[in-house]
């Protein structure tokens, strides 16, 4: 069974998915960050494939993409770095990336490499749903890759049903109309959105992302979904001076404590 599905079978509450950009802060930090995330208590790891034009991302993740590219990160290099990561990391691994670098690499080869590495899922925010269903789904299925879709407060009920039907793993609930790293707002609208999704009784688990940055927002998200995704706040935490592993450990523990 896919590790993401396995995870949600055994844990349905306070699931923590941590995002970081591959190649940041240093080119070779990728697997070290992943190992430490598992040790510190993250449940899933989302590795960002850097892109020159990340339109869904706010300033923090944009900057980390820019630094990673300047450091020399490429998709090819990332997939090389990840070879053998399964000897040390056992929690689910998701690759997140804009579609263009993957198209240039070759989607079929990418899927093969992901399977060999032991990647469990993909988040491709600018891949249209129909193209996934008609073109890529058979390939993803063949290589054991779950495709994770996003929903937002503006997503219509019928489309959420569609997404739920065509998703596996979990649904990525974007907390508010924003790019990544925006300040979490606790508004009546957001409460209503969370309640509306809960009432839909989706077949997939949900994780809330965008604006989740600390224990307080993680707790709140967990009260409304199966857990949460943290990206920008984690990038900031590993940008600080000091030992990388200590920074990761301190951050993750402060969130899940």
């Amino acid at each position: 069974m896919n590790r993401i599905e396995e995870l949600f079978k055994h844990k349905s509450d306070r699931v923590l998915n941590v995002y970081f950009t591959a190649g940041y802060p240093q080119l070779d930090d990728t697997t070290a960050i992943m190992e430490q995330l598992e040790v510190s208590g993250a449940d899933l790891i989302e590795v960002g494939i850097p892109f020159s034009d990340p339109i869904a991302d706010g300033p923090t993740i944009q900057d980390s993409n820019g630094v990673a590219l300047d450091n020399g990160m490429t998709l090819k290099l990332l997939l090389e770095q990840l070879k053998g990561v399964r000897e040390k990391v056992s929690i689910p691994i998701i690759l997140m990336g804009y579609i263009n670098p993957i198209v240039q690499y070759g989607i079929e080869q990418f899927c093969k490499d992901c399977q060999e590495i032991g990647v469990d899922g993909l988040i491709l925010p600018d891949l249209p749903m129909f193209e996934y269903i008609e073109v890529h789904k058979p390939l993803f299925d063949k290589h054991g890759l779950l495709n994770i879709f996003l929903i937002t407060p503006q997503t219509s009920e019928s489309r959420i049903r569609d997404i739920d039907e065509n998703s596996s793993g979990f649904i990525y609930m974007v907390s508010s109309a924003s790019t990544t790293g925006a300040k979490a707002q606790v508004s009546g609208d957001q409460e209503a959105y969370f309640a509306r999704i809960k009432a839909m009784d989706l077949k997939n688990p949900t994780l809330i992302g965008f604006g989740i940055s600390n224990k307080e927002t993680f707790d709140k998200a967990s009260a409304n979904a199966n857990g949460a995704i943290i990206g920008s706040a984690f990038i900031k935490a590993i940008s600080k001076e000091g030992n990388l592993n200590d920074n990761i450990d301190e951050f993750v523990k402060s969130v899940i404590s």
Binding site: I55, L75, Y105, L150, T152
Partner: protein
């Protein structure tokens, strides 16, 4: 060959809507409504009336006698430079502001490179009393100061895009991010035939008034609707799409698109997407794209700020791939010389973007009876500083 967008927004292999879910409701709303709204008599009446009385349409189709003599063909200029605000860009912004109003949107955002689209957007927002924010790369703000001030005089807020390379593609990224953050009350007026479906087709239709008029005017002047050649410069490709639109399926007309070769296509400083690009995905559509082997978008270069976009509208990628249009590329130097030449021969100082279209004449050969229409997409007032800096006149 029929050039037509399909239901999902593809022209052959190019187009589509590669957007994050956050933008889906906005794009869906536009996709589901734009054709219906454009077909409404009330919309058409207001659109046509503003094109006539505010923009100054129809723009003349002018027989350039001295240029014709020089190149040995009958050369006509479609005078989009005489549009209000100095270029064809306003045809689209008029259409889109009327669209935005009918969609109930209260605020407008736009991206701009050289500032022409920004000015055209600020203009229609002033006309309608609508709040307007224009994103412009920090680098472009520095090199296009007069247009920045024009936008401010018109009441728009100009926001600097400080991310990435701080030019047009980053201004587009920032505008899209703004839209993600403000999805319900804001309409994004994209300035070219780029972006996710339905933008490329919608913008082309608003610009198609250009070829609609050419057909009528040529009928009056030459007794035939179709010329042998239609020539236009291409950055994203909105003026070319407008000039080609009603000729797409008329294969007796050779469509000619002219890209900016900057300092030369193999100098690393060019913007000739069909020469240097490969299929890829940027700003919501699959198109030809200048990029690294790893799929990172490459910053293009041209002396003309309106042509240095790393992609090209998906319809143009399709016209290129199918051979329906012939593509030329023209260096900075060639374009500048042609700009001066047009000034001297016809008394018209063209925008430097437009000067590229004229430079292609040097790479073509004509028969004396050939009828050639060049889309004179913009005037050169905004480029005075570049002309002065270049200095060879």
């Amino acid at each position: 060959m029929k050039v037509k967008v399909d239901e999902r927004g593809y022209y052959g292999n190019f187009g589509g809507a590669y957007i994050p879910e956050m933008l889906y409701p906005n794009i869906e709303e536009l996709r589901d409504n734009y054709e219906r709204i454009m077909a409404e008599p009330d919309f058409q009446e207001q659109f046509q009336s503003l094109l006539k009385d505010f923009v100054g349409r129809p723009t003349p189709l002018y027989k350039a006698e001295r240029l014709s003599e020089k190149y040995g063909a009958k050369i006509y200029l479609k005078r989009e430079d005489l549009c209000h605000t100095g270029a064809h860009k306003v045809n689209n912004t008029i259409g889109q502001i009327l669209m935005a109003q009918r969609l109930g949107k209260k605020k407008i955002i736009a991206e701009t490179g050289a500032g022409q689209h920004g000015v055209a957007t600020a203009t229609v927002c002033a006309l309608m009393g609508v709040e307007c924010i224009v994103y412009m790369g920090a680098v472009d703000i520095e090199r296009q100061k007069p247009n920045v001030e024009r936008m401010r005089i018109l009441g728009a807020e100009v926001r600097a895009a400080e991310s990435g390379s701080k030019t047009l593609k980053d201004a587009t990224n920032e505008a899209m991010r703004h839209w993600i953050n403000n999805p319900t009350d804001t309409h994004y007026i994209i300035g070219s035939v780029v972006g996710p479906h339905p933008y490329p087709e919608m913008v082309a239709r608003f610009q198609s008034v250009i070829s609609e008029e050419i057909k009528k005017q040529l009928q009056e002047q030459e007794g035939q609707t179709n010329p042998d050649y239609v020539i236009a410069c291409v950055g994203g490709g909105s003026n070319a799409a407008g000039a080609f639109y009603h000729y797409y399926d008329d294969e007796d007309v050779q469509l000619v698109a002219v890209e900016a070769a900057g300092k030369g296509n193999h100098t690393g400083e060019s913007a000739a997407t069909t020469v240097l690009g490969k299929p890829g995905v940027l700003h919501g559509s699959r198109t030809l794209l200048m990029q690294t082997e790893d799929g990172q978008v490459v910053e293009p270069y041209s002396i003309s700020a309106g042509l240095d976009y790393p992609g090209i509208g998906p319809v143009h990628a399709h016209l290129y791939e199918t051979g329906r249009a012939k593509f030329y590329s023209v260096t900075d130097e060639e374009a500048m010389k042609s700009g001066i030449q047009l000034s001297r021969l016809e008394g018209i100082i063209p925008a430097i973007e437009t000067a590229h279209a004229f430079a292609a004449l040097n790479q073509m050969s004509f028969k004396p009876e050939d009828i050639v229409v060049i889309n004179l997409s913009g005037r050169g007032d905004k480029d005075l500083e570049t002309y002065i800096k270049w200095g060879k006149y």
